[in-house]
Structure formats: structure tokens, C-alpha cells
């Protein structure tokens, strides 16, 4: 049934529709605005769950793929191809959406985290209409990024996440919000520029395909992901047409490095990480939930989708570099997290550390490690969303999240403290909770090729225990400062997302197959390209 509907487009554009509806609602009706936003946030989540149920990993997502011609621009050029019977040229911008075992978990993550962030937005009291408008707009961008199968479309969605996020950080954050928003925009704008450059190189050199037309053969340049993947994975694809069209090695390398930098900023990779510290510390908690829970994962997704799939050979020779960077990320983030006094910064550095594990998974270049990277992305998305949810609730009550000012909260906030402790344990990789599985798979994937680097990465788990326990225990255990004696436990509307996220963290921790099964054939196409011996 789902196959008959353009289900992917519906998922991606329902929030946009919601954003437009929000615009027509009265400024004062905050209740109805919130209700509308919730409806249009939960609807894509339900559809994504339906999609998850009907998705069969062995078949793949082909049945759900959508393709429409969007813009077709005739080109007037002569690339000396007339001898191949090519008589006309065009530049094609397709509207292509698709899903596979890699994007589906991330789409689900987007749905869950957005919904929970929407619920958690009760604390937003300023300019609600604009807030929810931007919030919904952002969701369309995020879904689009994970669903788009055309470079141009991907780029548009990618940028669509940037602008709403800029305003969400800059208007609703804490004291240093504007600086944080600027930092965010500058860094990510730079990343987008790199990405655009890489995409242009790809479209112009590897995005060609021929088809018979009325006047003869027509050569089409497009950013279609399938075309790119086919051309790049077939060394003879260009030679058949014309040697001038061949994507030369230096060009390939430059595209690859540009992509690594572009998505490395998003992930973030050391030393490109400082922007996200500011965002973590200064943006409003629901916004950080989205940011840390989903936007960082776009970096991981991009690395896998464009780095690993399109340039497996380049990635292969850069694997030691990426693995080293991953270990640096893990240890650097973890050690710095141990030294922070502000809980939000502890979480920010812990995100850097956890994203290092994603890098390790990607660098392993085998199915185990890559699945570990995706798993870790989803798991960290849930965990950091949960942690920032708690940060939001705490800040509402205590007006500080500095760990040296808080203490003994388990007495007045037993429920929240329990959830915080659970989230902390998940974050330090306790088996039975989601964090462990992603780490285990990434380490397992990488260990065969780089045992020493992996062992160094494992050391990060020790520091994770140190910073998590240090911060969580000093906030919740010990004596309670008098000024927090009257603090009240969370309301149901705040408790609900905490329970949902905790339940999910436990679910995929105890029964990881629920996620790994849908990924199981997602990497087949890429693994085949690698030389034997990398299959794991």
C-alpha cells in the first residue's frame, strides 16, 4: 500500500505543509500553534514507522523510490563526442528520493528526536509562532537530507537545515546565542561551500549518462546518485564515451577531500569542532536536541553516503588517517569533557568523543564497522537528545547546569535523576543500553586492520566513565544546596519524552537486531567494490 503513495515525499514535506499552516494561525493562539506543530511532527514519524514495518532489507528500498524530472536545461557545447553518436547535451536536475538500510534508521531517528524535541519545547515562551514555523521547516530539511538521491536536491535540503537552525539558535538561546549562531553559520556555510564545489566536480565529470532521443544520442549531465555511483564504480564508464570525460585521479582526490572536510565540519572532526561547543552551550535545549541528535548525524551520513560509497578506494587509502582522527576525537573529547565545569560542555565534548567512534566505524570500511557507525549515530542521537531534554528540564528548575553548583538532586528529582543516570550509563557504553552496541561493532570492525588504534580508542571508554560519573554524580548525589530544596519533579509532558527515549535506548541496546537487520543489505553495493580482504 505504501508503495503506491509517494511516501518519501510525504514524509519530507508534511512538516513544510505544517510550517505553512502555522503561518496562517493567529499570533496569540499559542495552544493551537503548538498543537498543529505536534500534529505535523508526529505524522511523519508515524509514516516512517509504517515505512520501517513494510521495509524488507533483502529487497531494498527500490519500491519506494521516487523520480521526477525537475529542470532540464539544454546545453550548447561540443565536447568532441560526436563520433560516439552524441548529438545533443543537456543538464538535468532530477527530483529523486530513495531509501535504503542506511537512511531508514536515520529517518526514524529524525522522526523520534523531532517529536520528542517538539514535546520538550514547552519551555519555549518567546515568539512561539516563528519558533514552530522554523522548527517544522528544519524537519523538512532533515528528512530531505536523508531521503534525497540527487546531489542538487541533497544540497538544497542540506542548506534548508542551515537557515532555520541559525535562527533557532540565535533567537531562543541563552546569553551568548548570537555569537553561537554566527559561528554555526560561518562554519557550516564554509562546509556547504566545500560540498557544493565537490558536487559540481562530480556532476560535471561523473554525472553523465546517454540515452537515445529524437535526434540521436543525448548526453545528460545530472547529479543523480545512482548514475554517479554506477559511473564511479565502473572504471570503464567514462572511457567508453571519451577519455576527456574521465574523472582523473587528482580530481577524484580533490572531490573526496572536499567532501571529507565538508562533512567533517558537520560531524565534527577535530580540529573543526569549536563551533558546536558554542551551539551546545548557548542554544535552547530542544534546539540542541535536534542539533546534537540529528544534525551531527548528517555529517556521519554524508561521510558514508558520499565518502564511502562513491570513493571507496580513496577512503581505503585514507583509512589510517580517518582512524587516527577518530581516536584523536575520542580521546581529545573525552579528556576535555573530564575538565569541564558546565554540564552542557561536558555533553558537547562527549559528543565529539562519540563521533570519533563513528569515524572509526567508517574507517574500518567493512560492513561491521559501517553498521557500527550508523548504529552509533542513531544511539548517540537518542542519548544526547535525552540528555539535553534533561538539561532543559533542569535549567527550568535550577537556572544553572554548572556541575559545581548543583548537587543532591536525586532527593528532590528522583525520576529525572534516575533517567539522567540511565542516559549517562548509556553514554559511557553500558551493555544492555544502546551505546554499547555501536561501540562494540565499530571496534570490532576496525580491530582486525588497526588493533593498536582500536585499543587506544577503547581507552576512551575509561574516560567516558570518568566524565559521565563525575558530572552526573556531582549533580544528583551528595548534599542538596538549600536553594534547590523546593524544586519540583517534572510534569507529565516532560516525563513522557524522557520515558520514550529511555525505552528506545533500552530496546535497541537489548535487542539490536531490530536495527541491524534493516541495515543488513545496505552496504552490499559498496563492499563489493572493495578489494577482497575488506569484507570482514
Amino acid at each position: 500500500m505504501l508503495e503506491d503513495l509517494p511516501i518519501l515525499s510525504i514524509i519530507a514535506f508534511l512538516p513544510l505543509l505544517g510550517a505553512l499552516v502555522t503561518l496562517f494561525l493567529p499570533q496569540g493562539g499559542s495552544r493551537i500553534i503548538r498543537f498543529t506543530a505536534l500534529v505535523f511532527t508526529f505524522a511523519p514519524l508515524l509514516l516512517a514507522i509504517a515505512l520501517y514495518i513494510s521495509y524488507e532489507p533483502a529487497v531494498g528500498g527500490g519500491a519506494f523510490a521516487e523520480k521526477l524530472t525537475w529542470l532540464s536545461i539544454p546545453l550548447n557545447m561540443d565536447a568532441g563526442l560526436s563520433n560516439n553518436g552524441v548529438t545533443s547535451y543537456r543538464l538535468l536536475f532530477d527530483y529523486r528520493m530513495g531509501i535504503d538500510g542506511i537512511s531508514l534508521p536515520l529517518v526514524l531517528l529524525t522522526g523520534v528526536v523531532s517529536s520528542m524535541a517538539a514535546l520538550a519545547s514547552v519551555h519555549i515562551r518567546k515568539r512561539r509562532k516563528l519558533y514552530y514555523f522554523l522548527f517544522l521547516l528544519l524537519q523538512t530539511g532533515m528528512y530531505g537530507v536523508f531521503l534525497a538521491r540527487d546531489l542538487t536536491l541533497f544540497f538544497i535540503f542540506f542548506e534548508l537545515t542551515l537557515i532555520p537552525m541559525f535562527f533557532l539558535i540565535g533567537i531562543w538561546g541563552y546569553f551568548g546565542r548570537e555569537q553561537a549562531a554566527n559561528r554555526f553559520l560561518v562554519y557550516n556555510g564554509l562546509g556547504s561551500a566545500f560540498m557544493l564545489l565537490a558536487f559540481l566536480i562530480l556532476i560535471a565529470t561523473a554525472g553523465f549518462s546517454t540515452a537515445p532521443s529524437a535526434t540521436g544520442m543525448q548526453l545528460t549531465f545530472s547529479g543523480s546518485y545512482e548514475v554517479l555511483f554506477a559511473n564511479l564504480s565502473d572504471p570503464n564508464a567514462a572511457a567508453n564515451l571519451n577519455s576527456a570525460m574521465h574523472l582523473s585521479d587528482p580530481l577524484k582526490w580533490s572531490a573526496f577531500v572536499l567532501l571529507i572536510v565538508a562533512f567533517g565540519i558537520k560531524l565534527p572532526i577535530f580540529p573543526l569542532h569549536t563551533w558546536m561547543l558554542k551551539v551546545h552551550a548557548e542554544a535552547a535545549p530542544p534546539v540542541v536536541m535536534i542539533h546534537s541528535g540529528i544534525l551531527l548525524k548528517m555529517g556521519a551520513y554524508g561521510l558514508i553516503r558520499f565518502g564511502a560509497f562513491l570513493f571507496p578506494d580513496q577512503l581505503d587509502s585514507w583509512a589510517p588517517v580517518l582512524a587516527t582522527l577518530g581516536v584523536v576525537n575520542i580521546l581529545y573529547g573525552a579528556i576535555l569533557a573530564c575538565a569541564q565545569k558546565e554540564f552542557k560542555l561536558v555533553l558537547a565534548y562527549s559528543s565529539i568523543s562519540h563521533m570519533g567512534i563513528v569515524l572509526l566505524g567508517v574507517a574500518s570500511l567493512n560492513e561491521t564497522g559501517l553498521e557500527g557507525a550508523v548504529f552509533q549515530s542513531v544511539s548517540h542521537g537518542l542519548i544526547s537528545a535525552l540528555l539535553f531534554l534533561i538539561v532543559g528540564s533542569l535549567y527550568e528548575r535550577t537556572e544553572t547546569t554548572r556541575i559545581d553548583e548543583l548537587g543532591g538532586l536525586a532527593r528532590v528529582l528522583p525520576f529525572t535523576s534516575g533517567i539522567l543516570l540511565t542516559a549517562g550509563l548509556a553514554s559511557l557504553g553500558l551493555p544492555g543500553l544502546s551505546g554499547f552496541v555501536g561501540e562494540l561493532l565499530s571496534f570490532m570492525g576496525l580491530f582486525d586492520a588497526y588493533p593498536w588504534l582500536t585499543a587506544a580508542g577503547v581507552l576512551g571508554l575509561l574516560f567516558a566513565a570518568v566524565y559521565v560519573l563525575r558530572s552526573v554524580l556531582s549533580m544528583t548525589y551528595g548534599g542538596l544546596p538549600d536553594r534547590f530544596a523546593a524544586v519540583r519533579e517534572v510534569r507529565f509532558v516532560e516525563a513522557l519524552p524522557m520515558i520514550v527515549l529511555t525505552a528506545l535506548i533500552v530496546l535497541i541496546g537489548v535487542y539490536p537486531s531490530i536495527m541491524t537487520d534493516i541495515m543488513s543489505h545496505g552496504f552490499d553495493g559498496m563492499i563489493k567494490l572493495l578489494q577482497p580482504g575488506h569484507g570482514g
Binding site: 576535555l336 548504529f375 551493555p431 570492525g445 554524580l473 539490536p512 537486531s513 552496504f523 569484507g535 570482514g536
Partner: protein, 626 residues
């Protein structure tokens, strides 16, 4: 004989797990009802374990294995499974019996705590994970449960979360044991990539390592064994990772009995026994285990001599006895190790629970403030005495037989190990005598009113003491020089115990000497003065400060790490972010420069435009003509 109950062994962890789920979901509303739910769950587990054990008492009960696929990622298939062997059946009995008794005891001990249902929930979760650890048929499942028992231990140490000491102790316990856990994790990774078919279950280990097939080189085997041992060192509080265990006494006393004496800390020993095929394939690894065990045994026993907190003394005693077990394993005798684990679980749990009964009565843990309690708490004093005798290794109590087995194994391996073990036995008897005489004999030295109010604990607390006392007396007879039943049952008759009258005589001699000296110093006069300690104050201080190990770690690891953290923090702020700010500000400066051109005069802008166009035209024209 048909195996029926073994098939359902996985219910054993399921009962307490269900109890944990119920207690967590229902929250604090349950109070004592919740405590009963948890107790009944542990009773069910105990009954099941008993049935399994009885079923396996027959001569040739086959091992039963059941497994499911837990995770498939790429070429990796990870299983979750359980295995019932005689070894696991023995451990099941130990764990469920102690858990049941501690549950019953806690009904009285924790009666007035407002978070009693949380407490019982944690205990239930612990019992479930510990049973999972025991039953696990492969190293990964074991590791998962291993971490879970660790976190339960952490939660329970920090149960009284308002005390800063409890918070610090919980944190320390988790982090220090985690060092060992990482070793175990790396060992798992190594094994995974080097075992044929990536198998991680214990049967495959047996097949690969026992046959000396050479599939895995000796140096790699040693590395793997040492990494596994690192995990065991962390969990079982062996030197140098023993520092967390004495601090863990900040938790409620029943927890110290269950987790930090009888079960979880023994998990390290159990792990080594479980993977003993790997150790047996590497002499270097076995030697390391033996040396670390022997050193820990005497090191901790000597520290125990100078402590004044009743629970800390017992904690150091636990560390020392775990060292004994490791010593036995390192000497190559799994039977002796498991035997000592078995008897130690009973008498150490007994000692802790009796100590809890004392603390319950006088509300202090400092033995200098106790004294003469034997007259007010008869059952506690008698059972504690039995436990002390068992621990000291006085025949016919359980500890005597198992300690003898350990010492005999040590003598087989090396006389030096034997000598160290003997010295540790002497220290053990000495500090137990000191403890017993200072607490129960003589005159009350502490608060007179507290002494007057001190009375015997209720039946729910004394009943477990009595049961454990019976075991402390009788459990040793499963393996005696004339009846090596346990050894042949555990190892299918592969291991033979060695008996030597020299061992028996010297160990009894050492223990009696220790007890006598203890009586001489602390029992005869109620003053509790130790002439040796008075002669050598520096030695006393060294022991009281526990050889300054904590201070050394603080100096060697904690502070440099904190410094590194702060230094890197500044680096991140100044250099990494500074580079970004530099780029940002240089762009801004360039922008400022350009604003000079922006006069706001439209005509000026037009002029620039024209000039630009002219340059462009000249450039194009120039390219065409030159």
C-alpha cells in the same frame, strides 16, 4: 540421566529480572511489598538452581547449551547463550543461596529506609545479571553481564547517595573496575579475530587451546590471557586495582555481603576458571596469576591488621582471600580455586552479615568503640565466631579444607608461593582474632548508652546468619583429602588434589599462632595494645595508610590527568578556537578596509563599475590582439 531442569536454567536470571522490572515500574509505592516480591523471585531462582544441581549430581550429566542469535552485523554474528555444566550449577547454588539469604536479611536491615523498594530492585537486577554471568556460554554474553553486575555494584555502593563518601566510593569502584573491563573487552576483540569461525564460546576455547593445536601462537595466547586476567584483577580487587573494594564498604552492609564478598568479586576468579584453557596454554600467564594472587593475599592481609573499621577489615580480608583463589588458579588447580570460592562465599557472607547485625545494634563501624558485645548479642557473636574460625582455617570448619587445598596446590607449584600463602594465613588468623576480641569480648569502650541499647537483631536477620553458619561449618566436607568429590565432579576427574601432611600441619600451626597472638594482644587484656605495633610506629602508619597506594594513584594518575584536562582545555580555547577567531578577525579586518570604498555615493559606485567594465574590455581585447 535426562536433563530436564538444565534446559530451563535461563529462568533463573529471569525471575529476579522480572522482579526488577516490576519494582522499577511500580516505583516507590510498593515499599515492603516490593521487597517481598524481590525475595520471592530470588527464592524461585534458588529452588530452580537447587533442582538443577540435584539433577547434575549424577555421574555423567551432560552439559546443556542453549543459544540465540543476538546481533548480526555484516559477517559478524554474535550470540547470547547459556550453558549448564557442573561448574555453573555450583555457582548457581552459591549465588542464589547467598542472594536469597541477603534478601531475607535485608528485609530486616533495610526496614526503615524510605527507598527500600529501590534497594530491592537493584539487588534483583544484580542477582539477574550475576546469574546471567554465571550461565553465559560465551565470553561476550559474560562480558555484558559482567558490566551489568559492575553497574549494580556501583548503584548499590552509592545507594545512600547523600553521603559524599558513598558518591566517591561508587565512582571509584566503577572507574577502577572499568580499567579491567577494558582489558577484557580488548581480549574479546583479539579472540574474536583470531578464533576459528570467530567463535567466542567456552567450548571452542577448550577445543582450540586445550589441544595445543597451535592455531593461536603462544605469545598471543599469553597476551589474551593477561588481558582477561586484567579484567579479573579489576573485578576481584587484586593488586594493583584493589583500591575500590575497601571503599565500596560505603554501601549498605547486606550489599557488602552479597556483592563485595560472596558473588561479584568472585566473578573474576570464575572468569579465570571459565577461560582456564587459555591460561593453561601459557605458562607466563599462569605465573602472573599466581604471583599477583599470592602478593595480593599477603598484601591485603597485612593491611587488614591495622584497620579500625569493622567492614574495612573484612573487605581487606576479602581481597586477601580472593588472592588465595587466584594463587590456586595460578598454581594450576581450578578445583582448589573454586573450592575456596565456594566456602569463602558462605563464611565471608556470614561475617559481613554478622558485622551488619553489630552495626545495626551500635550504629558505628569503628571497632575501637565496640567491645563486650558478645554478652548482648549471643547469636551474632557465636555465628561471627564460627565465620572467623572458618576464615582463619581452623579444622573442621569449611575454610580449613579449602585453604589447605589452595596451599597444597601452591606447594606443588613453588615453595615460595606456599610460604607467602602460609604467611597470609597467619596474618588472617591474627586480624580475625583482633577483630573478634575487640568487638565481642572485653569491656565496652564506646558510648555506654549505645552499648546499653544494643540488642540482638530480629529473626529475619539472625536466621540467615544461622543458615550460613551451618554452611561455614559443613561446606568443607565436599572436598577432603580422603574424599575428592568436588574436584572430580567439577573437572570430570581430570584434576587430582595433592595431599601432604606437611601442608596441613604448617597451616594449622600458622593459624593457631595467629589466633594465639591475637588473643595475647587483644583478648587477654581488654586494652587492645599491640606491643609489636608500639615498637614499630612507622610500620603501623604504613599499614594504616594502606601502603599509601591511594595517595600514589592520586599523585600518579588523577592529578596529572586533571592537569592534562585543564591544559587541553586551554589549548582548545586558545589555539584551536584561536585559529578560528584569527581567520574570522582577519576577514573582518579586510572587510573594514573595504568599507572605505563604500562612500554611499551612487556616482562613486557607478564610476567603479565603469572602471571595472573598462578593465574587463581591455582585458578581453588584449587577449584577442596579443
Amino acid at each position: 540421566m535426562d536433563i530436564v531442569f538444565s534446559q530451563y536454567a535461563w529462568f533463573a536470571p529471569l525471575f529476579p529480572l522480572a522482579a526488577f522490572a516490576v519494582l522499577t515500574a511500580m516505583g516507590r509505592g510498593l515499599r515492603t511489598t516490593g521487597a517481598w516480591v524481590a525475595t520471592i523471585a530470588s527464592l524461585l531462582s534458588f529452588v530452580l538452581s537447587l533442582l538443577i544441581a540435584i539433577e547434575r549430581l549424577g555421574d555423567s550429566a551432560e552439559d546443556y547449551t542453549g543459544r540465540i542469535e543476538w546481533l548480526r552485523a555484516g559477517s559478524i554474528v554474535l550470540h547470547a547463550g547459556y550453558e549448564v555444566t557442573n561448574l555453573t550449577a555450583l555457582m548457581l547454588i552459591i549465588v542464589t543461596l547467598v542472594a536469597l539469604l541477603v534478601n531475607i536479611y535485608s528485609l530486616g536491615y533495610m526496614k526503615d529506609d524510605e527507598r527500600i523498594s529501590v534497594f530491592f530492585g537493584y539487588v534483583a537486577l544484580f542477582t539477574a545479571s550475576m546469574l546471567g554471568l554465571v550461565l553465559a556460554d560465551n565470553l561476550l554474553t559474560l562480558y555484558i553481564c559482567w558490566e551489568l553486575v559492575g553497574v549494580c555494584s556501583f548503584l548499590l555502593i552509592g545507594f545512600w547517595f547523600r553521603k559524599p563518601e558513598a558518591r566517591a566510593a561508587a565512582k571509584k569502584a566503577f572507574i577502577v573496575t572499568r580499567i579491567g573491563d577494558l582489558g577484557l573487552l580488548i581480549a574479546i576483540l583479539l579472540l574474536y579475530w583470531n578464533m576459528p569461525n570467530h567463535e567466542l564460546d567456552f567450548t571452542s576455547f577448550y577445543n582450540v587451546f586445550h589441544s595445543q593445536s597451535g592455531l593461536i601462537s603462544t605469545s598471543l595466547t599469553t597476551l589474551i590471557a593477561l588481558l582477561i586476567f586484567l579484567g579479573a584483577v579489576g573485578k576481584s580487587g587484586q593488586f594493583p586495582l584493589h583500591v575500590w573494594l575497601p571503599d565500596a564498604m560505603e554501601g549498605p552492609t547486606p550489599i557488602s555481603a552479597l556483592i563485595h564478598a560472596a558473588t561479584m568479586v568472585a566473578a573474576g576468579v570464575y572468569l579465570v576458571v571459565r577461560t582456564f584453557d587459555i591460561f593453561a596454554a601459557s605458562d607466563a600467564a599462569l605465573t602472573t596469576v599466581a604471583v599477583v594472587g599470592a602478593f595480593t593475599a599477603i598484601f591485603a592481609a597485612s593491611v587488614g591488621l591495622a584497620q579500625n573499621d569493622i567492614k574495612r577489615i573484612l573487605a581487606y580480608s576479602t581481597v586477601s582471600q580472593l588472592g588465595y583463589m587466584m594463587l590456586a588458579l595460578g598454581a594450576g588447580s581450578t578445583t582448589a580455586g573454586m573450592f575456596h570460592l565456594f566456602t569463602h562465599a558462605f563464611f565471608k557472607a556470614l561475617l559481613f552479615l554478622a558485622a551488619g547485625s553489630v552495626i545495626h545494634a551500635v550504629h558505628t563501624q569503628d571497632i575501637r568503640e565496640m567491645g563486650g558485645l558478645g554478652r548482648r548479642m549471643k547469636i551474632t557473636a557465636w555465628t561471627f565466631g564460627i565465620g572467623a574460625l572458618a576464615l582463619s582455617g581452623i579444622p573442621p570448619f569449611a575454610g580449613f579444607w579449602s585453604k589447605d587445598a589452595v596451599l597444597a596446590a601452591a606447594l606443588d607449584d613453588s615453595p615460595w608461593l606456599f610460604a607467602v600463602g602460609l604467611a597470609a594465613a597467619f596474618f588472617t588468623a591474627l586480624y580475625m582474632a583482633r577483630l573478634f576480641f575487640l568487638v565481642f569480648m572485653g569491656k565496652a569502650r564506646g558510648d555506654a548508652r549505645a552499648y546499653a541499647h544494643a540488642k540482638e537483631s530480629p529473626l529475619v536477620m539472625t536466621l540467615p546468619l544461622l543458615v550460613l553458619a551451618v554452611f561455614s561449618v559443613a561446606a568443607g566436607f565436599v572436598e577432603t583429602p580422603w574424599n575428592e568429590w568436588l574436584g572430580s565432579w567439577l573437572t570430570d576427574g581430570e584434576e587430582k588434589g595433592s595431599f601432604s601432611s606437611m601442608v596441613v600441619i604448617s597451616s594449622i600451626g600458622a593459624s593457631l599462632l595467629g589466633l594465639y597472638l591475637g588473643w595475647l594482644f587483644y583478648g587477654r587484656t581488654s586494652a587492645g595494645r599491640n606491643p609489636v605495633a608500639e615498637r614499630l610506629p612507622w610500620l603501623t602508619r604504613l599499614l594504616e595508610r594502606k601502603y599509601y597506594v591511594d595517595e600514589l594513584y592520586e599523585l600518579a594518575f588523577v592529578r596529572p590527568l586533571a592537569k592534562l584536562g585543564r591544559g587541553l582545555s586551554r589549548f582548545d580555547e586558545a589555539v584551536v578556537d584561536g585559529a578560528v577567531r584569527l581567520v574570522g578577525s582577519s576577514v573582518q579586518a579586510a572587510g573594514k578596509l573595504n568599507t572605505r570604498l563604500q562612500s554611499g555615493q551612487v556616482q562613486a559606485y557607478a564610476l567603479y563599475g565603469v572602471l571595472g567594465a573598462v578593465i574587463l574590455i581591455l582585458a578581453i581585447a588584449g587577449r584577442r590582439f596579443w
